[in-house]
């Protein structure tokens, strides 16, 4: 007798289905692999270190304007142009100029007027620098001689900081749009009900999303970091294995959240809303594109508890600062907690129809 085909174990069969469907769906391929690379390029280019950063200064046209401009031109950190008063006001408002200077107004009490918005981080620094230049030109002498030594530290550029956050966002989106949305869609088209009518072990269906994640997550890590290395020279300072481990743990926490979203929602509109409700605040608060330390101190403990914040914190310490994974006990524990609690809740609440 010839060999008979053997039934594959349900879990492996379902996991194979997940992988096949993923690689056959051009949309999911793009959002999972292509999109994060595009964001890396766009933001990496927009915020690249262009030698020294130059602060723009608008000098209001008038009798002393040209003298001020010439003095400031000697400083590489400043770029000064003479414009009329209305233009200077406009540039100050739009942020095109960090500072505007009006000099030598006849009959004025102060021969120099600095105008700036103190809530802009670079405005005050620009004002001090411009003031120094103009005071020195007028004859001020420094009492203490100081020398500047500047370096760009390894792993300290914006793009180095950005890439781990993008990986977190990518894993979160993968869990939400790739898994949660997919499950709700299967419920809406009654595929879940059909599966529930077979002897399929129900846990296997949910587990198949995690098993397939064991393939997707390492691929995502590899593609993103390899790309960032080739294009921007981003290097993982710590252990690559720790990065991979963190990515897997993070993906479990996000998948738990995704499953929770998907456990009851009856249609894709509801799922859409739930997913946005969860992902949008984390995109803002969890320090993907800018540091979450900018939020008030009173919010910090809550922000740190968010799964994406914990993931970004731990991953940046490992990938940017070269820290050992074993120093990241708190964020790792937060992630594990999220993974456990959300998974248990999701399985409890899950509806097959």
């Amino acid at each position: 007798m010839s060999t008979t085909p053997k039934a594959t174990h349900g879990l492996w069969a379902l996991s194979a289905v997940r992988l096949k469907l993923f690689f056959r769906e051009p949309g999911s391929m793009f959002w999972t692999f292509g999109f994060p690379l595009l964001v890396t390029v766009a933001l990496g280019v927009a915020f690249r270190n262009q030698g020294q950063a130059k602060s723009p200064v608008a000098v209001v046209a008038g009798p002393g304007a040209e003298r001020v401009r010439a003095a400031l031109a000697g400083r590489p950190a400043l770029s000064a142009r003479v414009v009329d008063a209305a233009e200077a006001t406009r540039e100050l408002r739009t942020g095109e100029a960090a500072l505007s200077i009006e000099a030598g107004r006849p009959g004025a009490a102060a021969p120099l007027v600095f105008r700036y918005d103190p809530s802009r981080p670079e405005a005050l620094a620009t004002r001090r620098l411009a003031d120094d230049v103009l005071q020195e030109q007028a004859g001020r002498r420094d009492v203490v001689v100081a020398r500047d030594e500047t370096t760009v530290t390894r792993g300290g550029r914006y793009v180095d900081w950005l890439v781990p956050g993008l990986l977190g966002l990518q894993l979160l989106n993968g869990a939400m749009w790739g898994a949660a949305f997919n499950i709700v869609n299967a419920r809406q088209r009654k595929l879940l009900k059909r599966l529930a009518a077979t002897p399929m072990r129900r846990a296997h269906y949910l587990l198949s999303y995690r098993v397939s994640g064991l393939v997707f997550v390492p691929l995502q890590v590899l593609v993103l970091f390899l790309f960032a290395r080739v294009t921007f020279g981003v290097v993982i300072q710590g252990s690559a294995l720790a990065v991979l481990g963190l990515a897997l743990l993070g993906s479990w926490a996000f998948a738990g959240l995704g499953l929770l979203c998907a456990s009851r929602a009856q249609n894709s509109e509801t799922a859409n809303g739930l997913i946005n409700l969860i992902t949008l605040p984390m995109m803002v608060f969890s320090g993907v594109f800018f540091s979450s330390s900018r939020f008030p101190a009173v919010l910090q403990p809550a922000i740190r508890l968010l799964p994406l914040s914990a993931f970004n914190e731990a991953l940046r310490h490992v990938a940017n600062d070269g820290a050992s994974i074993f120093t990241q006990g708190v964020p790792v524990a937060i992630l594990a907690g999220w993974a456990l609690v959300t998974s248990v809740l999701a399985v409890r609440l899950f509806r097959w129809s």
Binding site: L191, A196, A197
Partner: protein, 308 residues
């Protein structure tokens, strides 16, 4: 051996609405049993309770002598299901879909994949993504998925709804072949011709209640004859005018004419024409046709099945 299905006093309420309102049924092994009724009659709710996908509010439900509350795992392995309009994995091929479902059953199921592809005329489409199948092919795949575990009872919920006539007939052939092999089949439909052709016995349900039960022939007999004659005359006649015509068992007014239930057209028609001549009335239209379950439903409820 216990019956394939036993239902006693089944009730399913959704708030104030009783989708199933005290239903009794039994389905014997090897029987093809039809649940017939308009949309919203409670057919799908009943079948989903039988499939273990919905829970009854009250009443007794046994499938293969077992209850869903006690042995869900075992029952799932012994029944097969084709839900009403399930959409499967779009980008999986026909064969992959069958193999995936086969993996949920024992080792024997994987062997059946090849046989089922042939039986359901899906061999040519084995490598086609499910999203690229026609409606008829999709339904045949749904039936194949119901059969992959070699079930003792197969449930088909509205298997031919939305199919073109040719695909319907192809699916009927498939179901008839299953019936000949002695498979127990429970199917719901709101098509009379489908129930008439495929089922050994039929329960007609309306508003959650069973209003008739029997073989197609028995049910048709209940309206007083296997044939219907629709006749319009000039001038018009009241139904009483045809009382006592030989072979006419019942006459009632329908539209601007009359509908007559008769057993034997060759006896009734000459007598009918003789009566018309006697009354000096000309027939302007006369149609004789076989009575259908639709006529049964109309007689029982005063509504047509198609009013959905």
């Amino acid at each position: 051996m216990e019956p394939a299905i036993l239902i006693e006093g089944l009730v399913k309420r959704y708030g104030d609405l009783a989708a199933v309102d005290g239903l009794d049924l039994d389905v014997q092994r090897g029987e093809c049993f039809g649940l017939l009724g308009p949309n919203g009659a409670g057919k799908t709710t009943t079948v989903e309770i039988l499939e273990g996908l919905n829970e009854p509010t009250s009443g007794k439900v046994e499938v293969l002598g077992r209850s869903w509350a006690q042995e869900p795992e075992e029952l799932r392995a012994r029944i097969g299901v084709a839900l009403q309009e399930t959409r499967l994995f779009d980008r999986l091929t026909v064969e992959e879909t069958l193999q995936t479902f086969a993996s949920f059953y024992g080792d024997g199921a994987a062997v059946r994949v090849a046989t089922l592809l042939a039986e359901m005329q899906l061999e040519e489409k084995r490598s086609t993504w499910v999203m690229r199948l026609s409606g008829g092919q999709r339904q045949r795949l749904a039936v194949a998925l119901g059969l992959v575990g070699d079930p003792e009872v197969l449930f088909l919920d509205e298997p031919t709804t939305g199919l073109d006539p040719q695909s319907r007939r192809a699916l009927w052939d498939t179901i008839e072949a299953l019936r000949r092999r002695g498979k127990t089949v429970v199917l719901t439909t709101h098509y009379m011709d489908e129930a008439e052709r495929l089922c050994d016995r039929i329960a007609i349900v309306d508003r959650g209640k069973r209003i008739a039960l029997g073989t197609p022939a028995e049910l048709i007999d209940r309206i007083g004859g296997a044939h219907l004659v629709e006749i319009t005359t000039a001038p018009g006649l009241p139904p009483e005018a045809l009382a006592g015509v030989r072979g006419v068992r019942q006459a009632r007014a329908v539209g601007d004419g009359l509908a007559l239930s008769i057993d034997e057209p060759h006896v009734a028609l000459p007598a009918l024409l003789a009566r018309l001549a006697e009354r000096r009335v000309e027939p302007t239209r006369l149609v004789s046709r076989t009575a259908t379950l639709d006529d049964v439903f109309l007689t029982l409820t005063g509504r047509s099945l198609r009013e959905d």
